[in-house]
């Protein structure tokens, strides 16, 4: 062969490249998962067409995409923040549930007729509960180096079952006719909606958090410390940055933000606490964060895209009778694809002429 393939390490990538690579990997993923769908007996073309039309084809569809994107942005920020320090918070799902649980508790035990007061109470409760859930894993990691992937994941299951306990048990709405759920929230416990859509005030929280995330990471001392620890914990120690304290603080805040996502879901969208109210937002948030390369603007864009995927998923569920699981498959494929294409981020592939020797 006259040519040979050479791999050369890349040191820096431009903004254009950073932006286009995820897009390419998503397109590749859609192709790949289209193939998977074919294998599983589904026509990918029909599926994709139905998905995109359902999500983007109408004003209603668009608003639904935003509705789905809100918790993704918020929990995406939570996850990305932790990931920046290479602390793998896989527990966003459980933290979401805890946040929702605490908000529901606030409604039940500290009711108020004033919307401002009620929502504030719910927010504080959600933040503290979600934060506490994250704090546990953070504390265990900082003190005894307990693997946070497993602890946060286990706490997911615990959190979900905990919520189940209250929903099926003491907080159950007696008039709900066999469907387990809490009584509907009073109007004061609801987030205001926009223009007759289901888009709620949570969108403000989402945008604010993205801005805050960027601000903290780029401009604050703490943001710098997070980045330093994430890149090189030994050097960070040398710089005088306290690892243990930062892990605990980070996990608390990450959990708190995820808890907030839970609160906005039930206060904004659902109006009551039901089992399984989160269709895996905490896990999807991980994909969002990774796809967005832990970048605040990326999180917004990817969350929107995921919203499209989820609304589209609802659509094909109804139209084509496909279970939500197919969306999960697509998500898995997207993640594979993104990981695979990261290769091109690290290496340049060159075709060189083999020299005569």
């Amino acid at each position: 062969m006259r040519y040979r393939i050479v791999l050369r390490r890349r040191f820096k990538t431009g903004a254009f490249f950073e932006g286009i690579l995820p897009v390419i990997s998503i397109v590749a993923a859609l192709l790949f998962s289209g193939g998977a769908l074919l294998l599983f007996g589904v026509s990918p073309l029909a599926a994709y067409r139905a998905m995109f039309r359902g999500a983007l084809g109408s004003g209603y569809g668009l608003s639904e995409v935003i509705v789905k994107a809100i918790p993704l942005v918020i929990s995406g920020v939570a996850v990305a923040l932790a990931f920046r320090m290479k602390v793998w918070n896989i527990g966003a799902e459980g933290q979401i549930y805890l946040g929702a649980l605490a908000s529901a508790a606030a409604v039940r035990f500290l009711p108020s007729d004033s919307q401002v007061v009620m929502l504030l109470t719910m927010t504080v409760a959600a933040i503290i509960a979600g934060g506490a859930w994250g704090y546990v894993a953070g504390f265990l990691k900082s003190r005894w180096n307990v693997n946070e992937v497993i602890t946060t994941l286990m706490l997911n299951y615990v959190g979900i079952h905990l919520a189940d306990y209250f929903i099926y048990g003491p907080w159950r709405d007696p008039s709900s006719l066999g469907f387990p759920m809490t009584p509907p929230f009073p109007p004061s416990a609801r987030l205001p909606l926009f223009f007759g859509t289901r888009v709620h005030l949570g969108i403000l929280a989402a945008v604010l958090l993205v801005l805050l995330f960027r601000l903290v990471i780029r401009w604050t001392r703490w943001g710098f410390e997070i980045r330093a620890i994430g890149d090189n914990p030994r050097a960070a120690e040398y710089a005088g940055i306290n690892y243990g304290r930062n892990v605990v603080l980070l996990m608390f805040i990450s959990g708190a933000i995820a808890g907030l996502a839970g609160m906005t879901e039930i206060a904004g969208l659902q109006g009551r606490l039901q089992p399984g109210f989160s269709p895996g937002y905490g896990y999807t948030a991980i994909i969002v964060a990774w796809l967005a390369r832990l970048n605040p603007w990326g999180i917004m864009m990817v969350s929107f895209f995921m919203g499209v995927l989820l609304v589209g998923g609802d659509t094909i569920q109804v139209i084509m009778r496909l279970p939500l699981a197919s969306v999960q498959v697509i998500q898995g494929c997207i993640l594979f694809s993104v990981l695979g294409f990261e290769f091109f981020r690290n290496y340049r592939v060159l075709l060189l002429r083999r020299e005569r020797g």
Partner: protein, 530 residues
């Protein structure tokens, strides 16, 4: 005994190898005869390691020929080289620390049965030990062995595989003078048995001692192949660098001032929990360079980490100008004027993924002039400072916003020096500051340290390069197993031999003084300064 037969053991001709636009080897020739110790000499980056990695099969040549014992060979993998009888002892030993000695020897053997035959391996290792005079416990786990012993395991590994050609890559950088002599004895025994040895080094004294022939490389090209009888240290150095080399640095005498850094009875634990610094006491004065000599791995790094405040001091005290620092934060250590240049440039001292500005910020961002509104970093000020420092220290870089990993070793070190030495520190702790640097960068670093000393700082210089310690220090302390072996007040009064003994564990007081000065004839303590 060098026997020049009709066919050399190894013959490399016209070797070319390019990496990422850099020509590591350019038309290089090398011969090795039976029974010969052939040294490959050159600065860092001259291409020695590359050439040997080609010979050992780790790299493939771009062009050129390799002939072993008259047979042309192509090495596509280390296995091909091993089969051809080539055994390489790398600078960083290729040993698995958690496995035992015999398991490391047995790893990857070609004719191993499916079931590990421990008895046979140990027996054969015993034969090798007897034949070549190398001693190591085959059952010991490697991580428990001293560096010298680990090196012996690496050598046994190659001999076990019937290596005819041994390549030793900078083997003496981790040994005391005594261990070096033991190694040289082993090498001579190996060549006496008819093997050939390629010795890679940049230490001219040793090269003159052990070599039969020397090939000098510079910037990827071969400069010359000479007989050791026909050259001097100076002529070799000139060949290595391309111009006349001045060996002595202009070191002016200084009057040391008061004690600026005082460490008393320090006890510090290492990463695995064992005590690495054992009741160590030290004084560093203003306007002096105190050299800390010792074989690496004897607690120097843990000691310096503790003195710089990044490792916990279990017992003892560390005072700067009388102010007690033990138990305080790293930042407090910095605020009191201690700057630290750690040995591990990219592992500890710098964050390679961050750009130059951010790396400068790493140890400065909490200072008032770089903070805005208490929680925010003042990036403009940092950028300005970085620009100043980069210019003053001539750090060659592609741009301040580019990641630090793009810098060469020498420039990374300069960046660290720029950061650490720019705030008029009172104490400078420098660990292995010239490791891996070429001659001009090394000179720059040494001059900078002297400059700091002249400006009034107290410098603690830690190095396993005895030459460096002897030439730069005003006083020398020796550490062994975390303990202070002694402080030599006048570096000119001590021999390398004595230094080596101290580095290996003999206390200064234990030296008998042949002239009788300082001892009262009744076996009482000899005065600690020789």
């Amino acid at each position: 005994m060098v026997s020049v037969g009709p066919v050399p053991l190894v013959s490399m001709r016209g070797i070319e190898k390019t990496f990422v636009g850099v020509k590591a080897n350019s038309d290089v020739d090398l011969d090795l005869e039976r029974g010969e110790v052939h040294t490959l000499l050159g600065e860092n980056g001259a291409g020695k390691s590359t050439l040997m990695n080609i010979l050992s099969g780790l790299y493939t040549v771009d062009s050129g020929a390799i002939v072993i014992n008259g047979e042309p060979r192509v090495f596509r993998s280390p296995r091909d080289a091993i089969r051809a009888g080539i055994g390489m002892v790398h600078q960083h030993f290729m040993l698995v620390p958690t496995l035992s000695v015999w398991e490391n020897v047995a790893l990857g053997l070609e004719d191993q049965p499916f079931l590990l035959d421990k008895g046979r391996v140990i027996e054969r290792v015993g034969d090798i030990q007897k034949r070549y005079g190398i001693h190591v416990d085959p059952l010991a786990p490697v991580w428990q062995l001293s560096i010298g012993e680990q090196q012996r395991v690496a050598i046994i590994k190659t001999l076990y595989r019937s290596a005819d050609i041994l390549i030793l890559d900078e083997p003496t950088s981790v040994l005391t003078p005594q261990e070096t002599r033991a190694l040289f004895r082993t090498i001579r025994q190996i060549t006496a048995e008819g093997h050939g040895v390629i010795f890679i080094s940049h230490k001219l004294d040793e090269v003159m001692d052990i070599s039969d022939r020397i090939t000098v490389l510079r910037k990827g090209k071969k400069v010359a192949t000479v007989n050791v009888k026909d050259v001097t240290k100076e002529s070799l150095a000139e060949m290595m660098v391309g111009r006349r080399v001045v060996f002595q640095i202009g070191k002016t005498l200084q009057n040391p001032g008061r004690v600026i850094l005082e460490a008393r009875e320090l006890v510090v634990r290492g990463d695995r929990g064992r005590v690495r610094v054992d009741h160590f006491s030290l004084d560093v004065r203003q306007r002096e360079i105190l050299g800390l000599a010792g074989v690496s791995g004897n607690g120097q790094e843990e000691l310096c980490d503790a003195l710089a405040g990044i490792r916990k001091t279990e017992k003892g005290s560390v005072r700067v100008d009388g102010y007690e620092l033990v138990g305080k934060s790293t930042r407090e250590f910095q605020k009191r004027g201690i700057s630290y240049i750690p040995a591990d440039r990219i592992g500890t001292g710098l964050v390679t993924g961050m750009n130059l500005r951010e790396n400068i910020a790493l140890r400065k961002y909490w200072r008032k002039e770089f903070t805005r509104f208490r929680f925010f970093i003042h990036w403009e000020n940092i950028a300005g400072r970085t620009g100043q420092l980069v210019e003053r220290y001539s750090v060659v870089n592609p741009g301040l916003g580019f990641p630090a990993k793009m810098l060469s070793g020498g420039n990374l070190q300069k960046l660290m020096l720029a950061r650490e030495l720019s705030d008029d520190p009172r104490v400078v702790i420098a660990v292995q500051p010239t490791w891996g640097l070429d001659v001009s960068a090394t000179l720059f670093v040494r001059e900078t340290l002297l400059e700091q000393r002249d400006k009034g700082a107290g410098v603690l210089l830690v190095s396993d390069d005895l030459e460096e310690i002897l030439s730069l220090s005003d006083r020398i302390a020796v550490i062994h197993n975390g303990r202070l072996m002694g402080i030599v007040e006048d570096p000119d009064s001590v021999t390398e031999e004595q230094m080596g003994l101290m580095m290996a564990g003999t206390r200064l007081e234990e030296f008998s003084n042949p002239v009788g000065e300082g001892s009262d004839g009744q076996g009482k303590e000899v005065s600690p300064s020789l």
